[in-house]
Amino acid sequence: MSNATPKILENLLLAIAQKQDREAFVKLFEATSSRLKAFAMQCGATSNDAEELLQECMLTVWRKAHTFNPKTGTAITWLYTIIRNKRIDFARKGRYDTVLSDDLWNDEGGTELENDVSSDLDAKVARTLLESLPDEQRQVVYKVYFEGKSHSEIAADLDLPLGTIKSRLRLAMKKLDTLAKEQMTWLIIILTMNF
Protein backbone atom coordinates (compact mmCIF):
# COMPACT_ATOMS: atom_id res chain seq x y z
CA MET A 1 0.00 0.00 0.00
CA SER A 2 2.91 2.25 0.67
CA ASN A 3 3.77 2.11 -3.00
CA ALA A 4 0.31 1.33 -4.43
CA THR A 5 -1.71 4.41 -5.24
CA PRO A 6 -5.51 4.43 -4.83
CA LYS A 7 -5.79 4.17 -8.62
CA ILE A 8 -3.62 1.03 -8.76
CA LEU A 9 -5.70 -0.67 -6.04
CA GLU A 10 -8.88 0.31 -7.86
CA ASN A 11 -7.68 -1.16 -11.15
CA LEU A 12 -6.61 -4.39 -9.46
CA LEU A 13 -10.04 -4.79 -7.86
CA LEU A 14 -11.80 -4.06 -11.14
CA ALA A 15 -9.64 -6.63 -12.96
CA ILE A 16 -10.62 -9.23 -10.35
CA ALA A 17 -14.28 -8.30 -10.67
CA GLN A 18 -14.44 -8.24 -14.46
CA LYS A 19 -11.94 -10.91 -15.51
CA GLN A 20 -11.36 -13.07 -12.41
CA ASP A 21 -7.78 -11.99 -12.91
CA ARG A 22 -5.61 -14.11 -10.56
CA GLU A 23 -2.49 -12.13 -11.25
CA ALA A 24 -4.28 -8.97 -10.15
CA PHE A 25 -5.45 -10.83 -7.05
CA VAL A 26 -1.90 -11.77 -6.12
CA LYS A 27 -0.79 -8.18 -6.66
CA LEU A 28 -3.64 -6.91 -4.49
CA PHE A 29 -2.64 -9.38 -1.79
CA GLU A 30 0.95 -8.20 -1.93
CA ALA A 31 -0.09 -4.56 -1.75
CA THR A 32 -2.57 -4.85 1.13
CA SER A 33 -2.09 -8.02 3.21
CA SER A 34 0.40 -6.58 5.69
CA ARG A 35 -2.05 -3.86 6.66
CA LEU A 36 -5.11 -6.09 6.67
CA LYS A 37 -3.23 -8.32 9.10
CA ALA A 38 -2.25 -5.25 11.12
CA PHE A 39 -5.92 -4.26 11.31
CA ALA A 40 -6.81 -7.59 12.91
CA MET A 41 -3.95 -7.32 15.38
CA GLN A 42 -4.87 -3.76 16.35
CA CYS A 43 -8.33 -5.14 17.12
CA GLY A 44 -6.71 -7.60 19.51
CA ALA A 45 -6.18 -10.74 17.40
CA THR A 46 -3.12 -12.97 17.83
CA SER A 47 -0.81 -13.26 14.84
CA ASN A 48 -2.32 -16.67 13.96
CA ASP A 49 -5.91 -15.46 14.21
CA ALA A 50 -5.00 -12.37 12.24
CA GLU A 51 -3.70 -14.52 9.38
CA GLU A 52 -6.81 -16.66 9.56
CA LEU A 53 -8.91 -13.50 9.29
CA LEU A 54 -6.72 -12.26 6.45
CA GLN A 55 -7.42 -15.48 4.52
CA GLU A 56 -11.17 -15.16 5.03
CA CYS A 57 -10.97 -11.53 4.00
CA MET A 58 -9.06 -12.20 0.78
CA LEU A 59 -11.39 -15.05 -0.21
CA THR A 60 -14.31 -12.66 0.23
CA VAL A 61 -12.47 -10.04 -1.82
CA TRP A 62 -12.19 -12.61 -4.62
CA ARG A 63 -15.86 -13.58 -4.44
CA LYS A 64 -17.36 -10.16 -3.88
CA ALA A 65 -15.11 -7.97 -6.00
CA HIS A 66 -18.11 -7.34 -8.28
CA THR A 67 -19.80 -5.41 -5.43
CA PHE A 68 -16.98 -2.84 -5.44
CA ASN A 69 -18.22 0.35 -7.03
CA PRO A 70 -15.53 2.99 -7.58
CA LYS A 71 -18.24 5.63 -7.88
CA THR A 72 -19.25 5.23 -4.23
CA GLY A 73 -15.84 5.04 -2.61
CA THR A 74 -12.20 4.13 -2.87
CA ALA A 75 -10.72 0.63 -3.01
CA ILE A 76 -9.20 0.99 0.44
CA THR A 77 -12.58 1.95 1.93
CA TRP A 78 -14.16 -1.11 0.32
CA LEU A 79 -11.37 -3.33 1.67
CA TYR A 80 -11.89 -1.76 5.06
CA THR A 81 -15.59 -2.73 5.07
CA ILE A 82 -14.69 -6.32 4.09
CA ILE A 83 -12.13 -6.82 6.86
CA ARG A 84 -14.38 -5.03 9.37
CA ASN A 85 -17.25 -7.42 8.57
CA LYS A 86 -15.00 -10.48 8.67
CA ARG A 87 -13.80 -9.47 12.11
CA ILE A 88 -17.41 -9.25 13.32
CA ASP A 89 -18.29 -12.67 11.93
CA PHE A 90 -15.02 -14.37 12.91
CA ALA A 91 -15.84 -14.97 16.56
CA ARG A 92 -19.51 -15.65 16.01
CA LYS A 93 -19.61 -18.58 13.64
CA GLY A 94 -22.58 -20.88 13.95
CA ARG A 95 -24.47 -18.98 16.62
CA TYR A 96 -28.10 -18.39 15.84
CA ASP A 97 -28.88 -15.59 18.29
CA THR A 98 -25.89 -13.42 17.55
CA VAL A 99 -25.53 -10.58 15.11
CA LEU A 100 -23.70 -11.11 11.81
CA SER A 101 -22.31 -8.47 9.51
CA ASP A 102 -25.00 -9.32 6.94
CA ASP A 103 -27.60 -8.23 9.49
CA LEU A 104 -25.97 -4.83 9.75
CA TRP A 105 -24.98 -4.17 6.15
CA ASN A 106 -26.86 -5.05 3.03
CA ASP A 107 -24.73 -6.00 0.03
CA GLU A 108 -27.29 -4.60 -2.35
CA GLY A 109 -27.91 -0.94 -2.94
CA GLY A 110 -25.39 1.79 -2.34
CA THR A 111 -25.89 3.22 -5.81
CA GLU A 112 -27.61 6.24 -4.27
CA LEU A 113 -24.23 7.26 -2.87
CA GLU A 114 -22.79 7.14 -6.37
CA ASN A 115 -21.10 10.08 -7.88
CA ASP A 116 -18.70 10.46 -10.76
CA VAL A 117 -16.39 12.83 -9.01
CA SER A 118 -17.04 12.44 -5.31
CA SER A 119 -15.15 9.30 -4.33
CA ASP A 120 -11.73 10.79 -4.99
CA LEU A 121 -12.75 13.89 -3.12
CA ASP A 122 -14.21 11.87 -0.23
CA ALA A 123 -10.97 9.99 0.11
CA LYS A 124 -9.10 13.26 0.08
CA VAL A 125 -11.33 14.54 2.89
CA ALA A 126 -10.63 11.52 5.09
CA ARG A 127 -6.91 11.70 4.29
CA THR A 128 -6.72 15.40 5.04
CA LEU A 129 -8.56 14.84 8.28
CA LEU A 130 -6.25 12.09 9.40
CA GLU A 131 -3.23 14.23 8.59
CA SER A 132 -4.59 17.32 10.27
CA LEU A 133 -5.82 15.80 13.52
CA PRO A 134 -3.71 16.60 16.56
CA ASP A 135 -2.24 13.44 18.13
CA GLU A 136 -4.55 13.58 21.12
CA GLN A 137 -7.70 13.54 18.93
CA ARG A 138 -6.25 10.95 16.62
CA GLN A 139 -5.57 8.66 19.57
CA VAL A 140 -9.23 8.75 20.67
CA VAL A 141 -10.54 8.15 17.13
CA TYR A 142 -8.12 5.24 16.85
CA LYS A 143 -9.41 3.65 20.04
CA VAL A 144 -13.00 3.96 18.84
CA TYR A 145 -12.19 2.20 15.56
CA PHE A 146 -9.81 -0.50 16.69
CA GLU A 147 -10.48 -1.16 20.32
CA GLY A 148 -14.24 -0.64 20.33
CA LYS A 149 -14.01 1.11 23.65
CA SER A 150 -16.77 3.19 25.19
CA HIS A 151 -15.91 6.77 26.02
CA SER A 152 -15.64 5.99 29.70
CA GLU A 153 -13.34 3.02 29.02
CA ILE A 154 -11.12 5.26 26.89
CA ALA A 155 -11.09 7.82 29.71
CA ALA A 156 -10.00 5.12 32.17
CA ASP A 157 -7.35 3.86 29.73
CA LEU A 158 -5.79 7.26 29.25
CA ASP A 159 -6.39 8.35 32.84
CA LEU A 160 -8.28 11.44 31.70
CA PRO A 161 -11.70 12.86 32.60
CA LEU A 162 -14.64 11.59 30.52
CA GLY A 163 -15.41 15.15 29.42
CA THR A 164 -11.96 15.48 27.85
CA ILE A 165 -12.44 12.32 25.80
CA LYS A 166 -15.88 13.42 24.62
CA SER A 167 -14.65 16.86 23.60
CA ARG A 168 -11.63 15.45 21.73
CA LEU A 169 -13.87 13.11 19.78
CA ARG A 170 -16.35 15.88 19.07
CA LEU A 171 -13.62 18.17 17.79
CA ALA A 172 -12.41 15.44 15.42
CA MET A 173 -15.94 14.84 14.13
CA LYS A 174 -16.57 18.52 13.68
CA LYS A 175 -13.42 18.81 11.63
CA LEU A 176 -14.51 15.91 9.42
CA ASP A 177 -17.92 17.51 8.90
CA THR A 178 -16.37 20.85 8.01
CA LEU A 179 -14.07 19.18 5.50
CA ALA A 180 -17.00 17.22 4.04
CA LYS A 181 -18.97 20.44 3.60
CA GLU A 182 -16.06 22.13 1.86
CA GLN A 183 -15.85 19.12 -0.38
CA MET A 184 -19.58 19.42 -1.22
CA THR A 185 -18.94 23.00 -2.25
CA TRP A 186 -16.17 21.86 -4.57
CA LEU A 187 -18.41 19.15 -5.92
CA ILE A 188 -21.08 21.66 -6.81
CA ILE A 189 -18.51 23.89 -8.49
CA ILE A 190 -17.13 20.98 -10.53
CA LEU A 191 -20.60 19.78 -11.53
CA THR A 192 -21.62 23.28 -12.53
CA MET A 193 -18.53 23.67 -14.68
CA ASN A 194 -19.36 20.42 -16.45
CA PHE A 195 -22.70 21.75 -17.64
Binding site: R35, A38, N85, I88, V99, D103, W105, L113
Partner: protein
Protein backbone atom coordinates in the same frame (compact mmCIF):
# COMPACT_ATOMS: atom_id res chain seq x y z
CA UNK B 1 -38.49 10.59 6.65
CA UNK B 2 -37.00 10.25 10.11
CA UNK B 3 -36.61 13.41 12.21
CA UNK B 4 -34.63 11.95 15.10
CA UNK B 5 -31.30 10.35 14.44
CA UNK B 6 -28.46 8.49 16.13
CA UNK B 7 -25.70 10.92 17.09
CA UNK B 8 -22.39 10.98 15.22
CA UNK B 9 -20.60 9.05 17.98
CA UNK B 10 -22.98 6.14 17.41
CA UNK B 11 -22.63 6.35 13.63
CA UNK B 12 -18.86 6.35 13.91
CA UNK B 13 -18.87 3.29 16.17
CA UNK B 14 -21.30 1.61 13.79
CA UNK B 15 -19.02 2.31 10.82
CA UNK B 16 -16.18 0.90 12.92
CA UNK B 17 -18.20 -2.30 13.45
CA UNK B 18 -17.86 -1.80 17.18
CA UNK B 19 -21.38 -1.28 18.50
CA UNK B 20 -22.83 -3.86 20.91
CA UNK B 21 -25.09 -6.33 19.06
CA UNK B 22 -28.56 -4.97 19.89
CA UNK B 23 -27.57 -1.37 19.40
CA UNK B 24 -25.90 -2.20 16.07
CA UNK B 25 -29.13 -3.79 14.87
CA UNK B 26 -31.08 -0.70 15.91
CA UNK B 27 -28.76 1.70 14.09
CA UNK B 28 -28.97 -0.57 11.02
CA UNK B 29 -32.80 -0.32 11.17
CA UNK B 30 -32.58 3.46 11.17
CA UNK B 31 -30.05 3.54 8.34
CA UNK B 32 -32.39 1.58 6.09
CA UNK B 33 -34.77 4.54 6.43
CA UNK B 34 -32.40 7.49 6.53
CA UNK B 35 -30.35 8.75 3.63
CA UNK B 36 -28.46 11.44 5.53
CA UNK B 37 -27.29 9.00 8.22
CA UNK B 38 -26.21 6.57 5.49
CA UNK B 39 -24.09 9.31 3.98
CA UNK B 40 -22.59 10.22 7.34
CA UNK B 41 -21.80 6.55 8.03
CA UNK B 42 -20.16 6.32 4.62
CA UNK B 43 -17.91 9.23 5.57
CA UNK B 44 -16.85 7.36 8.71
CA UNK B 45 -16.19 4.24 6.64
CA UNK B 46 -13.83 6.30 4.52
CA UNK B 47 -12.07 7.42 7.65
CA UNK B 48 -11.82 3.72 8.56
CA UNK B 49 -10.27 3.06 5.14
CA UNK B 50 -7.70 5.76 5.69
CA UNK B 51 -6.89 4.44 9.17
CA UNK B 52 -6.39 0.99 7.62
CA UNK B 53 -4.07 2.40 4.97
CA UNK B 54 -2.09 4.15 7.66
CA UNK B 55 -1.37 1.17 9.91
CA UNK B 56 2.20 0.01 10.41
CA UNK B 57 2.71 -3.14 8.32
CA UNK B 58 2.75 -6.60 9.90
CA UNK B 59 4.82 -9.38 8.37
CA UNK B 60 2.59 -11.99 6.79
CA UNK B 61 3.60 -15.68 6.86
CA UNK B 62 5.00 -16.91 3.54
CA UNK B 63 2.40 -19.68 3.15
CA UNK B 64 -0.70 -17.50 3.61
CA UNK B 65 -1.04 -16.55 -0.04
CA UNK B 66 -0.72 -20.17 -1.24
CA UNK B 67 -3.31 -21.29 1.32
CA UNK B 68 -5.71 -18.68 -0.06
CA UNK B 69 -5.04 -19.66 -3.68
CA UNK B 70 -5.69 -23.32 -2.76
CA UNK B 71 -9.16 -22.38 -1.54
CA UNK B 72 -10.06 -19.85 -4.18
CA UNK B 73 -12.13 -22.24 -6.31
CA UNK B 74 -14.04 -23.69 -3.38
CA UNK B 75 -17.79 -23.39 -3.86
CA UNK B 76 -19.34 -20.54 -1.92
CA UNK B 77 -20.79 -21.77 1.35
CA UNK B 78 -24.50 -21.64 2.12
CA UNK B 79 -25.96 -18.16 2.50
CA UNK B 80 -25.80 -16.86 6.05
CA UNK B 81 -28.84 -16.76 8.32
CA UNK B 82 -28.89 -13.03 7.95
CA UNK B 83 -29.57 -13.10 4.21
CA UNK B 84 -32.41 -15.64 4.21
CA UNK B 85 -34.80 -12.81 4.98
CA UNK B 86 -37.47 -14.80 6.77
CA UNK B 87 -40.18 -13.20 8.86
CA UNK B 88 -42.68 -10.37 8.84
CA UNK B 89 -41.98 -7.69 6.23
CA UNK B 90 -43.47 -5.11 8.59
CA UNK B 91 -40.37 -5.58 10.75
CA UNK B 92 -37.23 -3.74 9.58
CA UNK B 93 -34.89 -6.16 7.76
CA UNK B 94 -31.99 -6.12 10.25
CA UNK B 95 -34.31 -7.07 13.12
CA UNK B 96 -36.58 -9.44 11.22
CA UNK B 97 -34.90 -12.77 11.78
CA UNK B 98 -34.82 -12.22 15.55
CA UNK B 99 -38.62 -11.95 15.80
CA UNK B 100 -40.47 -15.27 15.43
CA UNK B 101 -43.53 -15.10 13.16
CA UNK B 102 -45.39 -11.87 12.54
CA UNK B 103 -46.11 -8.84 14.71
CA UNK B 104 -49.82 -9.74 14.77
CA UNK B 105 -49.31 -13.20 16.22
CA UNK B 106 -46.47 -12.44 18.66
CA UNK B 107 -46.97 -13.62 22.21
CA UNK B 108 -46.90 -10.25 23.90
CA UNK B 109 -46.71 -10.13 27.66
CA UNK B 110 -47.01 -7.40 30.27
CA UNK B 111 -48.99 -6.07 33.19
CA UNK B 112 -51.54 -3.97 31.43
CA UNK B 113 -53.38 -4.03 28.17
CA UNK B 114 -52.12 -0.58 27.24
CA UNK B 115 -48.42 -1.56 27.27
CA UNK B 116 -47.34 -4.94 26.03
CA UNK B 117 -43.80 -6.13 25.62
CA UNK B 118 -41.85 -8.89 23.94
CA UNK B 119 -38.29 -9.92 24.81
CA UNK B 120 -36.02 -10.16 21.79
CA UNK B 121 -33.32 -12.82 21.94
CA UNK B 122 -30.19 -11.12 20.68
CA UNK B 123 -26.97 -12.26 22.27
CA UNK B 124 -25.63 -9.16 23.99
CA UNK B 125 -23.86 -8.97 27.34
CA UNK B 126 -24.48 -5.25 27.69
CA UNK B 127 -28.01 -4.53 26.53
CA UNK B 128 -31.49 -5.99 26.71
CA UNK B 129 -33.68 -5.75 23.62
CA UNK B 130 -37.47 -5.61 23.62
CA UNK B 131 -40.44 -4.74 21.49
CA UNK B 132 -43.03 -2.48 23.07
CA UNK B 133 -46.59 -2.03 21.94
CA UNK B 134 -48.37 1.02 23.32
CA UNK B 135 -52.12 0.89 22.69
CA UNK B 136 -53.60 3.69 20.57
CA UNK B 137 -53.97 6.80 22.74
CA UNK B 138 -52.51 5.05 25.79
CA UNK B 139 -49.86 6.57 28.01
CA UNK B 140 -46.92 5.04 29.86
CA UNK B 141 -46.39 6.02 33.49
CA UNK B 142 -43.92 8.87 33.88
CA UNK B 143 -40.46 7.37 34.24
CA UNK B 144 -36.79 8.02 34.11
CA UNK B 145 -33.94 5.62 33.32
CA UNK B 146 -31.16 4.14 35.39
CA UNK B 147 -29.09 3.86 32.25
CA UNK B 148 -29.44 4.59 28.57
CA UNK B 149 -32.46 3.55 26.60
CA UNK B 150 -32.57 3.64 22.83
CA UNK B 151 -35.90 3.49 21.06
CA UNK B 152 -36.66 2.98 17.40
CA UNK B 153 -40.23 3.50 16.14
CA UNK B 154 -41.25 0.58 13.91
CA UNK B 155 -44.88 1.52 13.40
CA UNK B 156 -47.33 4.18 14.56
CA UNK B 157 -46.18 7.17 16.54
CA UNK B 158 -45.91 8.44 20.08
CA UNK B 159 -45.56 11.81 21.70
CA UNK B 160 -43.67 13.05 24.71
CA UNK B 161 -44.11 16.32 26.54
CA UNK B 162 -42.22 18.18 23.87
CA UNK B 163 -41.80 15.98 20.80
CA UNK B 164 -43.60 13.62 18.52
CA UNK B 165 -41.86 10.55 17.14
CA UNK B 166 -42.74 8.64 14.00
CA UNK B 167 -41.73 5.55 12.09
CA UNK B 168 -37.96 5.45 11.55
CA UNK B 169 -37.11 7.82 14.40
CA UNK B 170 -34.24 6.93 16.69
CA UNK B 171 -34.54 8.25 20.24
CA UNK B 172 -32.01 8.24 23.05
CA UNK B 173 -33.15 8.62 26.66
CA UNK B 174 -30.59 8.73 29.47
CA UNK B 175 -30.71 9.17 33.24
CA UNK B 176 -31.55 12.84 32.82
CA UNK B 177 -34.64 12.18 30.73
CA UNK B 178 -37.97 12.02 32.51
CA UNK B 179 -40.70 11.20 30.07
CA UNK B 180 -44.22 9.94 29.75
CA UNK B 181 -44.74 8.70 26.21
CA UNK B 182 -48.25 8.48 24.82
CA UNK B 183 -49.20 6.70 21.62
CA UNK B 184 -51.20 8.77 19.18
CA UNK B 185 -54.91 8.03 18.91
CA UNK B 186 -55.14 6.48 15.48
CA UNK B 187 -53.17 3.27 15.99
CA UNK B 188 -50.99 1.17 18.28
CA UNK B 189 -47.37 2.21 18.42
CA UNK B 190 -44.73 -0.49 18.10
CA UNK B 191 -41.19 0.30 19.19
CA UNK B 192 -37.90 -1.55 19.31
CA UNK B 193 -36.11 -0.67 22.53
CA UNK B 194 -32.60 -1.41 23.71
CA UNK B 195 -31.73 -0.61 27.32
CA UNK B 196 -28.91 -1.18 29.72
CA UNK B 197 -30.93 -1.02 32.92
CA UNK B 198 -34.53 -1.56 34.00
CA UNK B 199 -36.94 1.39 33.93
CA UNK B 200 -37.27 3.35 37.18
CA UNK B 201 -40.76 4.76 37.60
CA UNK B 202 -41.10 8.24 39.09
CA UNK B 203 -44.82 9.08 39.17
CA UNK B 204 -47.16 7.74 41.90
CA UNK B 205 -48.65 5.18 39.58
CA UNK B 206 -45.16 4.38 38.39
CA UNK B 207 -43.84 3.66 41.83
CA UNK B 208 -46.67 1.23 42.44
CA UNK B 209 -46.20 -0.48 39.14
CA UNK B 210 -42.42 -0.72 39.26
CA UNK B 211 -41.90 -3.75 41.56
CA UNK B 212 -44.03 -5.89 39.30
CA UNK B 213 -42.37 -5.01 36.08
CA UNK B 214 -39.64 -7.23 34.86
Amino acid sequence: MANYHPNNELLMSFAAGQLPNSLGIMVACHLEQCHSCRQQTHLYEQLGGELLGDLPEETVGTNVLSRILDRIDEPVSAPSLATLNQGDLAIPRPLRRFIPGSLDTLEWSGMTKSIREFDIEIEDPQFKAKLYKIGAGKELPEHTHEGNEFTYVIDGSFADKTCQYHEGDFILADTQTIHQPRATMDKDCICFAVMDAPLKMTGIFGRMLNPFMR
